[in-house]
Amino acid sequence: MLDNKIPQGPLAEKWSQHKFNLKLVNPANKRKYDIIVVGTGLAGASAAASFGELGYNVKAFCYQDSARRAHSIAAQGGINAAKNYKNDGDSIFRLFYDTIKGGDYRSREANVYRLAEVSNAIIDQCVAQGVPFAREYGGLLDNRSFGGAQVSRTFYAKGQTGQQLLLGAYSALSRQVKTGKVKLYTRNEMLDLVLVDGKARGIITRNLVTGAIERHSAHSVVLATGGYGNVFFLSTNAMGCNGTAAWRAYKKGAQFGNPCFTQIHPTCIPVHGTQQSKLTLMSESLRNDGRVWVPKTVEMAQKLQKGEIKPTEIAEEDRDYYLERIYPSFGNLVPRDVASRNAKNMCDAGKGVNETGLAVFLDFKTAIERDGEDVIRAKYGNLFQMYEKITDDNPYKTPMMIYPAIHYTMGGLWVDYNLMTTIPGLYAIGECNFSDHGGNRLGASALMQGLADGYFVIPYTIGDYLAQTSYDKVPTSHPAFEEAEKEVRDRINILLTSKGEKTPDEFHKELGLIMWEYCGMARNEEGLKKAKGMIQKLRKEYWAGVKLIGINEEMNLTLEKALRIADFLELGELMVDDALTRTESCGGHFREESQTPEGEALRKDDEFAFVSCWEYQGDDQPAKLNKEELVFENVKLTQRSYK
């Protein structure tokens, strides 16, 4: 039975009460505990820095050459907080409510409320660190609006909010490195988790420069390794983002929550061709001023596709601003899943606007006419520049073309209220866990969650666990380390001696296409079953032969990729299993069999108001599905409406 450890008592008092009930580690004793943090994005860097400040000994790992480069850095638009600086009716409860509703009622009330509750402290913390948030002329902080909310609660630093927040956390981390409380291991990748007496006590890593396989022991392990969107090959994730740490933890007994919940971001630059390696997001903030449209008729769309007419030649009355038409109250600011699905519907109906017919317009004409080009440039200049660099089109003159792309995974390792996985001593924070976004994450909430977990939740909850853990260290000569290292070496040897013609990337692209086609924006039973078979076949082929080169004891790009793809080939199947089991639609998970007459996602609360928690049973056994029932005491479950 899964115990989510949600405290008793009224919603607004749960966290305060819980913090009081948590056991503490005496300041002088903190130095007797070692903590491993894997990943140095917003969650990992903020957690590692905070642990160091508290006095714990921290080892922080990242695969990049510097902790500052983790992919949180690429988040553009902003971070939410319930400051109500705009006097527009915001409150902790409203942020909580919007997030629960935005997630289509598939997240935990207590976790989401806590997230909203600590959101304000995050802004205070970041400002004190010197994060240069955008300000108004009076010197106070500026806000903008994001999807799924009718208040302005998003704090931002140009279109580089993730960068500035990460550099803030990185500076705090750097300070702890200087004090010696944090030891950094860059260009290192975690390849396995080590359990001693059923508890997480260490990890096995590979040094990506020398190939050295190393053992690291600690009293607790925190995974902050981000999401697994790269299972789709093409996504907005960085090239190196991968699911290996989480997957290895899963195979050691950590249950995986809602793996099929992936977010498809509506405003990305469309795919240019088969040589494409990744997709680039255009911030959701653009939907504050940009209007989404397609031509009213298929004939006109076909002319656009052939390049016979220009978008600017299409008259107002021939344009269908479909989001404004279908959702008059939220308009262009509907949540991401709704915006993505509608774009797909328009393109499926033949109204796509680029060469491939897989794009819609995001048009700033109205805003430029209203506010002037200078105002739009000041707000979105760097995004417009980025768009022009990639597409060779000037978005001040002609509308942008956008299409949805894989962006974020709401699913992840299952954690309790303390952010601990089902393995004692193993925590998962940030995108790596499943906890706060349900079936769909609202814009500007990923940064909020990463920093909430790292600065303000785990520094408290980990103390409770450590206070009940002996100071004794496990030596890395312990048989559990021997065994875990041997497993890693065996896996590497199989791959390096494998003889095949297909490269790791070729397998990865194939997997990505299967996932996108059958487990992407719309899913159905037949397609999912087909995908399951295809993935199994691909995986078999992979282990029968994949083309690598070189040895372990050097920098080896092919090996790095091959190890990650091996795990994606398993994780992909679990996502499909999860999508098959959940025969309702909710948030980003759209089962074609379950929709309202208007084509909106139709939840089945009686059957599916639970978290799917998948438990590994062995490579030749299907995973076991456990359910954590979701209890709603403070919000009423309604069919989401943004009309």
């Binding site: 690429a74 400051k83 750097s174 795919v271 790009l557």
Partner: protein, 257 residues
């Protein structure tokens, strides 16, 4: 999907097995590249070809591929991040290159004593991390912070701080400089904090510690050629160097730190 014809290039690439080995240029043809492909996607094509032929792929650093992580670091045809203004290599597209006359493109790693080559085009930039660790922060702990709006900051100042903070730490400034000086990088971080009220308490200590670490790492001196500013993918201004120099001299002469 592009309607354009594929382009062909000859790449002259720096190959170096490891830090100790002697490096050399090697030539590789790459064919049928879409003009809409990014430079790094073009390198992916080359590497897939090499792998299929059983040859070791060319190593280069990259990650986000949207110009913000600062990991990509190639010296292309004599310029850090190649042709084009205010972009990183990953934002560079093949339509910018001439594929006539063999379409030769020369690709080298960042060249600086403080950035030793690890393999091929991959260099070690941890010197930047150590400079940051020396003092690139406001020394506050998590929690117990007054409300974010307690300190109003004039918009102009906040914007200037943001312009400095926009640095992605890629090292193009060092690669562009004939002295391999890191002044633009260090001054961007120093300036961000020097401009903001939050950074005042440690203003002197910070600039002294960071400049000291910069010197220890073996970066060269600044002779004000401005190459760093010209090649910075984020347009970080030389004004920051002037500000850091002011701060530095002020701090060095002062006894109050």
């Amino acid at each position: 999907m592009s309607n354009h014809k594929g382009l062909n290039f000859t790449l002259k690439v720096w190959r170096q097995k490891n830090a100790a080995a002697k490096g050399e240029f090697k030539e590789y043809p790459v064919t049928n590249v879409s003009p809409d492909s990014s430079f790094l996607e073009m390198l992916d094509i080359m590497n897939e070809d090499l792998l299929h032929k059983g040859e070791d792929p060319v190593y280069f650093d990259h990650d986000c591929r949207e110009g913000i992580c600062g990991m990509c670091s190639l010296f292309i045809n004599g310029r850090p991040h190649g042709p084009g203004e205010e972009i990183t290599v990953c934002q560079l597209h093949m339509r910018e290159f001439n594929s006539q006359d063999g379409g030769v493109i020369t690709i080298e790693p960042w060249r600086a004593a403080a950035f030793p080559v690890i393999k091929d085009l991959v260099v070690d930039r941890t010197a930047f991390d150590r400079i940051q660790q020396a003092g690139g922060y406001v020394s506050i702990n998590t929690g117990g912070i007054p409300d974010a709006n307690a300190i109003p900051i004039p918009k102009e100042i906040a914007d200037k701080a943001m312009d400095a903070a926009t640095c992605i730490g890629c090292g193009a400034c060092v690669a562009a400089c004939k002295n391999a000086s890191a002044m633009l990088f260090v001054s961007a971080k120093v300036s961000q904090f020097s401009l903001l009220p939050q950074g005042q308490a440690e203003k002197s200590r910070r600039v002294l510690a960071m400049v000291n670490q910069m010197d220890e790492e073996g970066f060269g001196a600044c002779t004000n050629t401005g190459a760093c500013e010209a090649e910075c993918p984020k347009g970080v201004s030389l004004e920051n160097i002037a500000r850091m120099n002011r701060d530095y001299f002020g701090a060095a002469l002062s006894t109050e730190h």
